[in-house]
C-alpha cells in the first residue's frame, strides 16, 4: 500500500470554515493529521486609523457568540491607554456581564451543540442529531437548553441594551448605571438558571460511563494549562494574574502580570492554516503546547469561590491525579463554570454599591499602549493596542481564546484519527469522533462550528496520483 491522504472538507461551522487532512503511511496507519482554519478577517489591521475608544464596539464584531468577551478585553486595553483605574462599580458590572455571557455561551455549547451526541448517541442518524432532533426525542432537555441560554442572553440585554454587540461597555467603564428594577429582575431569574444547570450536571455525571473510549482518546495527553486566577488563587474571569500549571498539576509560573504576556506566550505561524499556534515560550515550540478554557481554568484554580461550584470542582479534580487531562472533560468543566457564573452573579448583584451612579472614568490619551486580558468562555483573551499622540490606532495584536488551543486541537485530531482510522475503508464512526473531538474544544474561530449536530464532512481517500479510491459524505 502506498501513502495516502484523507481530506475532510469542509469541517463546517468553525468560523468561516475548517478542513482536516489525514495522512496515511504505507501500512495504512495514520502518520499525521492537520486542522486548517480557512478564514481571516484582518481585525489586527482594519482597526488602524480609528480612535481607540471605538475599539470595544468594533472588536465585539470579531464574534457573535462571545462579543462581550471582546468588549471587555478591548475596554480594558482602552482603560490602560486612558491610564485610569475605573470605578469599582464599573468593574463589578462588567464582571456580571461577562458571567452572563459565560452562562449563555456554555449553555449553547453543551445543550445546542453537544447534547445531541450524548442523548442520541455518537453513532445515531446524522439527520436527527441536532437541536430539532433533540426537541423531538428529548423535549425537556431541548427546552432547558433554550431557557438557560435565554436567561444568559436576557441578562445581557437588560444590562447592556442588546443581546448581541451591545454598546454599553466603553473605555473607562460602562456608560449607564444599573437601575434597581433591572437588578431585581436579574436576581429573580437566577434560581431557575441554577436549577437547570445543576440538573444537567447531575445527569451528565451519570452518563460519563458510556463514553469511556472517548474520554480515553479525545485529546487526552499531557499539556500545560494557562489562565487567569484571582490574587488569592480562585477561579477568575475578569481580572487577576496569569498562572501556568503542568500536566501533573504543579504550578510552573504564578502571579504573572498580564502586561508581560509576551514573556510567556509566543505565536508561531502554521504554513497551512490561518490560525496561528501560541506556545508557552519558556518551553519553546512545540513542547510548550498548552490548553486554555474551562478545563484549564479548573485545573489551575485552587477553588472556585462559590458554594455549589466548589463542591462540584472538588469532585471534578478527583478524575485524574494532578491535572484533569482528557479534553472530553471540557463538557463537564463547562457545566461547573455555568454554576459558578450564576452563583457569582448573585453575590455581585447583592452588593449595595452595584447601584452606584459612578460607573465611568473620563480621561484623554495618556499612554501610547494598552493591554487588556480577560477570560472568555473558551479561554484567555488578549487585546494589545498601540495609539499615536492623537489617540488613533496604529497597531493591534489579538490572541483569541480558541487560538491558544490550536496545537492541542491538532494533536487531538491526530489522536482520534490514529485510534479510529485504519487502512483503506472509511467509517462513519471515525468521522463522528473526529468532529466530536473538535467540538469538545468548542472552538470559536469566531463563530463556533457547533451550532448543532454535525459539521458537514466529506472524506476523500486519494491515491498518490490523485485518483479517488473511496469517498464518504455526510
Amino acid at each position: 500500500m502506498s501513502k495516502q491522504t484523507l481530506v475532510i472538507n469542509p469541517v463546517t461551522r468553525i468560523e468561516g470554515h475548517g478542513k482536516i487532512t489525514i495522512h496515511l503511511d504505507e501500512q495504512g496507519k495514520v502518520a499525521d493529521a492537520r486542522f486548517h482554519v480557512t478564514q481571516i478577517r484582518g481585525f489586527e489591521k482594519l482597526c488602524e486609523g480609528r480612535p481607540f475608544y471605538e475599539m470595544p464596539s468594533l472588536m465585539a464584531r470579531i464574534c457573535g457568540i462571545c462579543p462581550v468577551s471582546h468588549l471587555i478585553a478591548s475596554a480594558k486595553a482602552c482603560d490602560a491607554i486612558l491610564a485610569t483605574r475605573i470605578p469599582t462599580t464599573a468593574v463589578k458590572l462588567r464582571t456580571i456581564l461577562n458571567l452572563a455571557q459565560l452562562v449563555q455561551s456554555h449553555a449553547l455549547s453543551f445543550f445546542h451543540l453537544s447534547s445531541p451526541d450524548f442523548l442520541l448517541g455518537m453513532d445515531s442518524d446524522p439527520a436527527k442529531r441536532n437541536i430539532f432532533g433533540l426537541a423531538e426525542a428529548h423535549p425537556q432537555m431541548a427546552r432547558d437548553g433554550v431557557r438557560l441560554r435565554q436567561i444568559g442572553q436576557q441578562i445581557i440585554e437588560k444590562m447592556a441594551g442588546k443581546r448581541i454587540h451591545p454598546a454599553w461597555v466603553v473605555a473607562g467603564g460602562v456608560n449607564e448605571p444599573l437601575p434597581v428594577a433591572t437588578r431585581d429582575q436579574i436576581l429573580a431569574v437566577l434560581p431557575e438558571a441554577l436549577q437547570i444547570a445543576t440538573k444537567a450536571l447531575d445527569w451528565f455525571k451519570t452518563i460519563l460511563d458510556q463514553f469511556r473510549e472517548e474520554i480515553r482518546t479525545f485529546a487526552n495527553f499531557p499539556t500545560y494549562f494557562l489562565g487567569l486566577v484571582s490574587p488569592t488563587g480562585e477561579l477568575e474571569h475578569y481580572n487577576g494574574f496569569f498562572r501556568v500549571v503542568d500536566s501533573r498539576g504543579n504550578i510552573v509560573a504564578d502571579k504573572l502580570d498580564v502586561l508581560n504576556y509576551q514573556d510567556i506566550i509566543g505565536e508561531a505561524c502554521e504554513p497551512d492554516s490561518y490560525l496561528k499556534s501560541p506556545y508557552y515560550k519558556p518551553r519553546g515550540y512545540p513542547e510548550g503546547i498548552y490548553r486554555v478554557g474551562p478545563l484549564a481554568r479548573l485545573n489551575i484554580a485552587d477553588r472556585c469561590g462559590t458554594p455549589r461550584a466548589d463542591q462540584e470542582w472538588a469532585e471534578f479534580r478527583e478524575l485524574d491525579r494532578g491535572a484533569v487531562l482528557s479534553s472530553f472533560y471540557y463538557h463537564y468543566a463547562r457545566l461547573i463554570e455555568i454554576i459558578y457564573g450564576i452563583e457569582r452573579m448573585e453575590q455581585l448583584l447583592q452588593a449595595p454599591d452595584i447601584l452606584s451612579k459612578h460607573v465611568r472614568a473620563f480621561a484623554g490619551t495618556n499612554n501610547p499602549e494598552g493591554i487588556g486580558v480577560t477570560e472568555a468562555p473558551r479561554g484567555t483573551l488578549i487585546h494589545h493596542y498601540k495609539v499615536d499622540d492623537n489617540g488613533l490606532m496604529v497597531w493591534a495584536n489579538l490572541i483569541i481564546a480558541t487560538g491558544h488551543n490550536n496545537l492541542a486541537l491538532n494533536r487531538g485530531v491526530l489522536q482520534v484519527a490514529k485510534h479510529f482510522v485504519n487502512g483503506e475503508k472509511l467509517s462513519e464512526g471515525m468521522l463522528n469522533r473526529v468532529e466530536a473531538v473538535v467540538r469538545a474544544f468548542d472552538p470559536c474561530l469566531s463563530c463556533s462550528t457547533h451550532a448543532l449536530g454535525h459539521m458537514a464532512l466529506q472524506v476523500t481517500l486519494l491515491s498518490p496520483d490523485g485518483e479517488v479510491l473511496d469517498e464518504l459524505k455526510r
Binding site: 486609523g49 480609528r50 480612535p51 475608544y53 471605538e54 470595544p56 464596539s57 468594533l58 464584531r61 454587540h165 454598546a167 466603553v170 473605555a171 456608560n175 473620563f362 484623554g364 499615536d388 492623537n390 489617540g391 488613533l392
Partner: protein, 239 residues
Amino acid sequence: MSQAVRVITLNMDGRDISARGDQTILQVARENNMYIPTLCHITGLSRVGSCRLCLVEIKGINKLLPACVTRVEEGMEVKLSSERLDKYRRSILELLFSERNHVCAVCVSNGHCELQNLAQKLNMTHVHFDYRYPRLPVDGSHERFVLDHNRCILCTRCVRVCDEIEGAHTWDMLGRGVNAQVITDLNQPWGDSETCTGCGKCINVCPTGALVEKGKSVREMTKQRQFLPYLTLMRERRW
C-alpha cells in the same frame, strides 16, 4: 424682510396653499407640515442646494428643481413626491453611501444620524452602486473634537456655520468631485488651526458622525441643534 411682500397662492400635492412671495418651496411645505427630505439644508444657515434630495416636480418645467432654493410663484403646481422622485432620492442616498466608508454598526453617531434616518425613511434597502472603499484619514489632532473623513457627505454645513454664525471661517473645501474634502485653515491639522475657537457649532450641525466630540464611543454622539435658530435671530436683529 422689511418691505411689503405679496401673498401668492400655489398648489402643492393637490392642496391649494397661500404663501409669501419671498418664500422657498421648502419653507412653504414645512409651514404646512408637508414633507420634503433634505440634507445640506439646515434652518439658520444659508442655502446651497447641493445635496439635491429636495428636488421636486413643477408642472410646465421639465427639469427637477431643488425646493430649498426655489422661490414659490403664483399658480405654481408642485409635486413633492412621486415614484420618480422617490427613486432619485434613493439613488442620491445610495451614491452618498457608496462614495465613502459609512459603517453604521460601529459609528459613534449610530442611531443619531440624519443620513441613516433618511435611508430608513426613504426605504433604501441596499446600495446598487459598487462601493468605492477609499482610504480616508481621521483627524484627531484637536484636543476636544475629531473629524472623520470616512463619514463626511460634503454637505458644507460646517463651512457655513463657522463662517456665518461663529465668524471664524475655519472650515472650507479643497479639491473637486470625488476628491473634494473639507479642510481646516490652509489644509492643516485641526489641532494646529489658528482660527478655530473651539465653539463646537460645527459638531452640532454636522448631520453624520464626521464631526464629533472626542471620547464618544459607538452610538454615543448625540447632537444639540436647538441653538441655531436663536443665534440666527440674534444676528439678524443686531444688524
